[in-house]
């Protein structure tokens, strides 16, 4: 057996036999001098190394060095002496052998590497659990422990879990791995919780599929999050105190985008870009965000006209998916223009209106408060078709006789909290834009998106929820 293997073997056995709340020590003579390593287990069995470096080992008086500097650090159990250099103080080592009666090993690898290797391979001595919030019926939140690893689990052990991250404060979502002690105190007393590790990061609100991997006792990797977790040095109890009693439903927002796709590709591109920017801005505000996308074009009012009906392309979906759909709409338009050019068939587009009234009807038929605080943003230019002939504008009526005034009234009665925003091109025409831009309206060319989003309540102060949420909505 080599010296390295002998040291590994001795350290492994020593760690296995090490009781909770106990320590053993190892002396290393290396290139940088002497060091005394203390390997301890805490009350929950988590091993941790620390060391004291002794610089300037004197060659002249080894006895003074041993008794004055080294020996006071060796209280308790000394497991072994490791020599990782050839130029070690032989007299001091001889004294150690005689006074402490410990084995001395020569090894090539630095002792630190060997200790880390042994600790990493050490099995758990207790359950590891993740601290989560459980969403009960209604909006009430309760603190709960979600099982991660059992005792005897070793490095590489995994656990899969699904949870939701809500908006947070600047500390982000906290991933607190805890264990608990049962049977202590009175029988009815709740188990005492002990923090193993606290990590945190500001994570975009949303639902995540995450794999927890045991890296070593005392450290868990959470894979599947969009950002890297950092060690959080706050006390667990301080964090627990920030948990809100209940989750306010209003904290989530449902952004419904109505997008006019008629006309030339360039204005459409601009509308798509602005809606993307709005989604990003709203999301950066920290609110949980669901996004819907309803597109609409023109009615076919004459022979060879194109009917471009109001369509729901995405409903209460993630912002990521909604943005993908927006890009698809833009690409489809480019394809359509190309096909028209190649076909050379005269298609007549009615340029005076778009079926905005049908888009409002589509939204009215689907929108509820279930998916969060509703916000309706329309990016377009043309007025809607009237329900019947309009003597003033002479715009051809909607083929389905949809009356936009009725549809909007119904929406406002059904959802009084609904906010309206309009992103408009130059010279928007029609009374409807006054209603659709009631809370915020912006020029597509120069809109200040953070202000626009704020006016719609998409950047209101959020309720911070410190832990991942599991339960009715999360899993």
């Amino acid at each position: 057996m080599s010296g390295d293997e002998s040291v590994l073997d001795a350290l492994t056995t020593g760690l296995e036999r090490l009781e909770n709340n106990a320590t053993f020590k190892v002396v290393e003579f290396g290139k940088n001098g002497a060091a005394v390593w203390s390997i301890s287990r805490d009350a929950w069995g988590t091993p941790a190394p620390r060391y004291t470096a002794l610089t300037g080992v004197p060659g002249a008086d080894p006895t003074d060095f041993y008794y004055d500097q080294l020996a006071p650090l060796l209280e308790g159990r000394l497991l072994l002496v490791a020599l990782t250099t050839l130029s070690y103080p032989r007299d001091v080592v001889q004294l150690l052998r005689e006074e402490q009666n410990v084995p001395v090993y020569n090894c090539l690898a630095p002792l630190e590497d060997l200790i880390k290797m042994v600790i990493r391979a050490s099995p758990l001595r207790t359950f590891y659990e993740l601290l989560v919030l459980r969403q009960e019926a209604g909006e009430q939140l309760s603190l709960a422990r979600h099982p991660l690893f059992p005792p005897d689990a070793v490095s590489g052990y995994t656990a899969d879990l699904v949870f939701r991250c809500a908006p947070t404060d600047e500390h982000g979502t906290v991933f607190a791995v805890v264990t608990h002690q049962t049977g202590s105190g009175a029988p009815s007393a709740p188990p005492r919780m002990h923090s193993i590790e606290i990590q945190s990061a500001v994570i975009p609100p949303g639902t995540y599929d995450v794999r927890a991997v045991l890296a070593r006792p005392g450290h868990v990797d959470f894979q599947g999050l969009l950002v890297k977790l950092e060690r959080d040095r706050r006390k667990l109890q301080d964090i627990v105190r920030t948990i809100p009693r209940e989750l306010r439903a209003a904290d989530g927002a449902h952004l419904v985008c109505m997008l006019e796709v008629s006309g030339e590709p360039e204005p459409l591109e601009q509308r798509v870009e602005r809606l993307e920017s709005l989604i990003d801005t709203a999301e950066a505000g920290g609110r949980a965000l669901k996004v819907s996308l309803v597109t609409y074009g023109q009615h076919a009012v004459e022979r060879n006209g194109t009917e471009d009906p109001a369509m729901t392309l995405a409903w209460a979906t993630t912002s990521h998916l909604a943005k993908l759909k927006l890009r698809e709409v833009q690409k489809a338009k480019a394809r359509q223009v190309q096909e028209k050019k190649s076909r050379q068939v005269a298609e007549r587009e009615y340029g005076r209106a778009a079926q905005l009234e049908c888009a409002v009807r589509e939204v009215n038929s689907r929108l509820t408060a279930r998916d969060g605080h509703p916000v309706l943003v329309t990016a377009g230019a043309r007025p809607p078709h009237p329900a019947k002939v309009d003597l003033a504008t002479e715009i051809i009526p909607c083929r389905d006789k949809v009356r936009w005034q009725d549809e909007l009234s119904q929406l406002q009665v059904k959802l009084p909290q609904l906010r309206f925003g309009a992103l408009l091109g130059p010279d928007p025409f029609g009374d409807i834009w006054r209603d659709l831009g009631r809370d915020a309206h912006g020029d597509l060319e120069v809109v200040d998106m953070p202000t626009f989003a704020t006016q719609l309540g998409l950047r209101d102060p959020v309720q911070a929820v410190p832990f991942p949420i599991v339960g009715q909505r999360g899993t």
């Binding site: 004459e302 022979r303 007549r348 005076r352 019947k388 002939v389 003597l391 003033a392 002479e394 083929r399």
Partner: protein
């Protein structure tokens, strides 16, 4: 044909053949010479196939078209062949600033030689510009002068023509709405589309009502000028539309909430409008037939 610029004189002629094919009038039609045949074909194609309007007339177009009766004549006075010599002048010629224009003189000669006049009154133009009286009165005076100067001692101060007054653009929503408000809209129960029309007896009421909203306030004078310068019994009123109303291809029915058969790029821009659906002319053949009947009856029997 008599009417201010843009009142639809050329379009009226352009849809004549379409009107004959929409309904069984017992008539067929062709040009009496190559030029007239070609014009007939081109106008019909422009309106029916391209769904566009024929270009405005520059000076004076004269068409000679023959209408043939393909059913046995209903009365002994009705001819088996009606030859229409139609003079379509540019509306610009009606303006008083053109009263010394050689073409204006030619137009007056044509009218003097005519037995019948198709007088086009465009209520939309009258509402927006109100120039019907100014374009009518000067021409009337010149026409009266021509009769007087020709030494026709029999001239009594009224012109001898038969006049079919065509109140055009019945398909325009504002005209339709006025007729509806006057409660003079009728429907033929046999018409599968249920298209509305205004009976000739009610047409003067519509004309009076529309003349009251003349942009210049002179619309009433136009109506009075027609009544006083021609023999009242020789004037008949027709509410007409060249393109007719839109019929929803899904329901095949006329819908009073969606009547427009013109697609305009801007409100009121009828000149740049496209025709939306099939052309179903209203009261286009009838004025011509009425004039033809009147003229035929007024001539001494051979």
């Amino acid at each position: 044909m008599w009417g201010a610029p843009g009142t639809g004189k050329t379009t009226f002629l352009g849809v004549l053949d379409i009107a004959l094919n929409r309904r069984d009038y017992g008539l067929t039609m062709t040009g009496a010479n190559d030029a007239s045949v070609n014009v007939l074909i081109e106008m019909t194609e422009t309106i029916n196939d391209d769904r566009e309007f024929p270009p405005a007339t520059d000076s004076i177009d004269t068409f000679k078209w023959d209408l043939f009766t393909v059913q046995p004549p209903q009365s002994s006075t009705q001819p088996a062949k009606i030859t229409l010599k139609l003079t379509d002048p540019s509306g610009e010629l009606m303006k008083n600033t053109r009263r010394s224009d050689p073409n204006r003189k030619k137009l007056i000669d044509e009218i003097v030689d005519s037995a019948g006049i198709l007088f086009m009154f465009d209520p939309i133009r009258e509402f927006e510009r109100g120039d019907a009286f100014s374009t009518t009165n000067g021409l009337l005076k010149q026409l009266m002068g021509a009769y007087s100067l020709n030494g026709q001692n029999t001239f009594t101060g009224r012109l001898p023509h038969y006049v079919a007054v065509c109140i055009t653009k019945f398909d325009e929503p504002r005209i339709l709405e006025t007729a509806r408000a006057l409660n003079i809209l009728r429907r033929d129960p046999k018409d599968p589309h249920g298209l509305p029309f205004v009976h000739n007896n009610d047409a003067p009421r519509l004309l009076d009502s529309l003349a009251q909203v003349s942009g210049s306030g002179d619309g009433g004078m136009t109506v009075n000028a027609l009544k006083t310068h021609f023999y009242p019994q020789r004037v008949e009123y027709f509410v007409t539309s060249a393109v007719g109303f839109y019929v929803d291809p899904r329901t095949k029915k006329f819908d009073i909430d969606d009547p427009q058969n013109l697609v305009k790029d801007k409100a009121g821009m009828a000149n740049s409008a496209r025709i939306r659906g099939p052309v179903r002319p209203i009261n286009i053949v009838e004025p011509v037939m009425w004039l033809s009947d009147c003229i035929a009856q007024s001539r001494p029997q051979m």
